[in-house]
Each structure stands twice: as structure tokens, then as C-alpha cells.
Amino acid sequence: MSAIARITLRRIELKLRMVYVSSMYVMDSVRRTVIEIETEDGIVGIGETLGTDEVFVLAGRLAAGMIGQSPLARLKLRNGFARSVFDNRNGRTGWSAFAGLDLACWDIAGKTHGMSLAELLGGGGKRRIEVVCPLPALIVDRLVRRRELGAMFRDHRNIDRLVAYALAQRRRHGFRCFKYKSAAADVEWDVAAMRALREALGRDAQLRFDPNAGYGPARATALCARLEPLDLEFYEDPTDDIEGLAKLRARMTRPVATNMCVIQLDHLAPAIRRGAIDVVLADIFMWGGVQNYREMAAVAESCGLKVAVHSLFESGIGTAANLHLASGLPQIARANDSGHHVIADDILSPSLPDVADGHLPLPVGAGLGVALDPVSLARLTVGEPVIITA
């Protein structure tokens, strides 16, 4: 295999079709890092990851160290990046930076061998993947300051707009699974909103509740106890930390999931020993790419945990990667998180199809099975690309 000759990193900004309100964000666009790795013999692998300043800078530094190395030596690259907990393995920034590069290396592997990512993972038989409809905590028409939200949450008539949005998304895209993003600002609002969603969407709909660990253990436990009759699919990060989740889970009958407290292999053993979670809602970026994801899924499978794909809003590259994970890994049996239908722009040619009947099709072709659209990419790029060569 020829070596890596050139790596290009860009930051892009994608507009959302809604103002997204959660306990972490009030936003109408998202920034992502797009990575192209080119080998000496001209194979180009594409990857994507978070678009924060920290991740972009670290990904660039890592990329410089990868020039001249084989893109197929993924284990060695990972070991070089995060040999120990001390080296880059704490928090999401380090692994996220590595994940974008790792994803591009897998894309190259697929193109080299003529296999899709799902096939490289040992699967690929599942051709349609169910996806989740994210629901903001509140429907607003413009960006607002967080302190303005308080009054809106106190007016429960605003719940009608949230329910109307969910029903419209179901009519348009056929969703059967919904994730409500709590702002963790008002317990009464959250309970009322979840009840209204359950009533409107019916018992057949899968409902997830996600306050992004915004409530302390006592409030979260009391809140989730009130949600128990709603028969939710799971509580996603209802509170913070492995300890907090374990205490809450001990008092609930519905499953507990996390994408914030168990985000690397080092977290699995304490979470398993503590009985903290039922579902590892794993994000390919925070988990540091495909290999880590695969290993996480293997551990989860042996230890009786379920696995589901987490995502927020990404370009078609990330969406495609998540579809391959769901098709390639048998441990994933729940609907994928996806913000695909909320993203107003994309950088692929052809674009991924729209969500229909609550599903997205698995991209066909080697590697990720998607290709960049240079015109869209240039239009959406923020700042200058970083180009690294020997």
C-alpha cells in the first residue's frame, strides 16, 4: 500500500432548517471538519469530524504526523495517537480529532479492496437503516439568548408547537422514533412536553428523552420517575457521570443510555461494574473512529449492553459512516440518531436521499460510498483549507 502523501482539512458551516434548542446549544448552523487523505497512488479517502477550533487544530497536528505512513496501518496510527489514558484519551476533543482521520483511512481501505465500510466490518446485509427524528426543546423562529427561554418554557401553550413539529416531521418523513432534546431548564415543561408527545404520537412511536446530563441525580431521578408511565425507549444522559447514572438506573424500569459519560473504552469497565447503563449510545466521532467503535460494540455485546448510533448534525459523510456502522455491526439494533433531514446544505455529489418511511438507504460503493461535490464544498468552507504534504 502506498503511503499518505497529502491531507487537506477544511471547516465547513452547514445551515439547519430549524433553530435547535437543547441544554447545550441554541443554534441554527453547525461547523464540521472535512478531511481528505490522498495516497501516493492517488486514492482519496474522505472523513469528517467535529468542527470546533480545538478539534480542527488537533486534527491538523495529527495529520502532519501521518504523512508518509500507510493509511491501512490503522492500529499503529491509533496507538501512536493515544497510547495511554494520559495521551489524548480524556474528553471528546482528542478522540474526535483522530476520528476524522481514521474515517478517511477506512474509506481508503474500502476503495483499495473494493469493499464498502459495512463489508469491511463484516456485515452490510442491512440496506435500509431506521433513523431518529430529533426534536428541539422548544420551537423558536430565530436565535434567542438562553436567558430568554425561561419565559417560553413557563408558557405550556408552546408545547403545541413542539407537537405540531413532530407530527409534521412524521407526515413528511415517516419517522417512528423521536428524540426530545430537553433544555434541562424546567422539569414541569419536560414532563408536560413528553406527555403531549406520547399522546400525539401514540404508543407505537419510540420516544427518547435527552437532557444532556443537565439535571443533577436527585432531580433527574424524580423527573424520570414521572416519565416511567410513558414507556420511553430510553432515558439518554438523564444525569451526569457514571455514578449519577447508576443511582438513577437502579430506580427505573426503562433503559438508561449515554453518549456523554461512556465515550471511550476506558469508561466501559467502571460503567459495567457499576451497572450504570443499558445502552451505549455511541458517537463515532467521540469514540475516536471505526476501530474503537467496533471494539466498544464487541465489549457491549459480551457484557449484555445494547448499542445505538449517536449523532448530532453532520454532513453526508458522517451520516454515511453511521449508516455503514448500523449495517456492518450486528450489535446495533436500534434506530440511528440523524440530523440529515434538518441540514439545509450538503457537500456530497450526489446528495444522500431524503429520509423516507423513517429510513435512509445504505450508500452503495467502495468505502463510505459517497463523493465530495467540490463546488458545494468550496461554497460552504469557512476560512482557508489546511493542506499538509511531505
Partner: protein, 339 residues
Amino acid sequence: MGGMTIEGARLRPLSEAGRDAARVLEIVAGGYAGFAPVVGEGEAVLAWCRALLGSSAFACNERWVRFVAASDAAGRSAFGTVENALWDLVGRKLGVPLYELLGGALRQRVAIAAPVRIAAEESVEAVVAQAKRLVDGHGFRTLALLDGGTAGQRTASVLAALRVAFGPAMGLRLHLPAGSVRPARDAALTALGLEFVECAGDDASEEREAWAGDPPLAGGRGLAAGPLIAEMCRRGVVQVLVAEPGSAGGVPGIARLGALARAFQLELALACAGGSRWELALAVQLAATQPMAEQAVLCPDAAALSDVEDGMLTLSGAPGIGVDLAPGLGDAAPEDTAS
């Protein structure tokens, strides 16, 4: 990728008649053949092959799900044998060694343990002499004492003699068969600085939990990643996972054990059930790709270790597992066929 449908399989005799690894499975898909040593019963291997006819050679996850649903000891070995042959086949088809399919090698040279046997009639001096021949011939840096279960109280004496003879830098470990009584875990045993003690078949025993400490306990041989191994990891009653590529569920089984080892920060020790070149080559390639597999690979048959230099084997760049049928063997009549 199309055109990789499993078309047929057969067992071929090896020259090492009368042993577990005396047969090799040849499996065919898309015009390519893959090979793996047969672990366990040949009929179970062929039955599994028949069940897979017409399916894709690449679909290892679908196979794993079916395997997990119906796994027992015979099933594990059959599954592992077939998986290993299929991964060999895929490597041959793509023209890359197995380790490259798994993400590339973390180490180009893999440490091998010298198998030192202790039998009832053998003196302590004779065992030390046996070990010395192996070390002098191939530079081994780890001695694996294979106690046949008859040495009894002499085991501790042999270990002490080996430590004196080879000094503190020599890796030293003890492998006991099922039903053996472990030597007393006392200060003298701890002072020997063993890498680990493995007592086969006691993975779920309460005694294991009581014995765990220093030296570390190894376990899991013959098991595939699943609830039992996970429980051993969770309870901390194993410090070293011993993994046989055949009985642990083949290449995907070792990958799963490797993930558990990483998550629970356990060492992973690859071991061969028999002494065939296929098993050794496979174990070496798998060890090269596992971050936690820093323990020397165990092959119980010293005759298979002729290529070991400085106690290490170097990875070959040959496709798949990297071992071909010996000249003439390919012409031998197959023992049985599934097609």
C-alpha cells in the same frame, strides 16, 4: 463485493496423523481457497460449512450472530475453524496478509514461549536441561511450564529450579490441565515472579476467586467472548485472557476478546491448541494486531518452533494466514466434503 459466495469445503489430511490438528479445512469461495487447521471434530466443521453454503465469505457478523445463538464447545471449535479458513481466503483474494485486514500489525516480530513439559517420571534436572536446549537453540525469553497434571508438589520445585537456572529476566509461567491442584499460593511462589498461572477449565469456580492475586491468574481458554468471560472480567478473577484462535471463535472471536482485554486492562495471551504451522502462524498474526497481546504466544509443540530466532517469529507478508499446503499434500484425497 460480489462473487464471494461460499461454494464448498473439504477436510484434508495432514502428515501429522492422529492429532487434533491432523486435518486442515479447505474452503472455497469465488474461485479462491482458504485453509485452517481443524480444531475439534471434523464432522462438526463440515456441518457448519454446509450451513454456510451460498452465503458470503465476508459476512462474518451474520455468522457470529448465528454462532452465538447456538454455541457449545464443539460448535465453538467448528465455528473458529471455519472462520479462520474464511479469513485466510479473504486475505488470499485481496492479496494481503491477515494482519492487514485487521488494521495492520502493531509489531513485526512476536515473542514465542518455549514449551517445557514436566512429566511424572522426569527429574527436576531433566526439565531444566530440556528448557536449556530450547533456550540455547532459539533464544526463547519465556518458558511455559506445561504440567501434565502428574507433577504434583514437584511443580513448585521445578519452577524454582528454572528461575535459578535462567535468572530473573526469563519470563516464566505455569499451565495446568483441568482438574489439577494449583500449587499453594505462598510467599515462595510469589517470589518466583511468574507471569501467570493458568489452570484450565476452572473459569467459573469459586476457588479461582479465592486464589486470585500474585502470581496473576490466567483463564478463558476454550471460551469465546460472551457472558462467562465478561463476568470473569467484571469480577476481576482473571488477569490474563488465554485465547486459542480455534476454540475462541476464530479471528472474530479473538478480536472480541482483544476488545474485552482493552476495556478491562487485561493481558491477552495467544495460544495454539495443537502444533500445526497454521495455528502458529495464525496466532502470531493475531498477536501482532492486539494491543494487549504482549505475552509470548504459546505453541505446545516444540517441533513447530524451528523458525524461532531470539525467541521471536517475524511476520510474513504472504496473503491470508500465510501458510500453504505442503508439496504433494494438495493431491491427497480429501477425507470428507461439504458442497
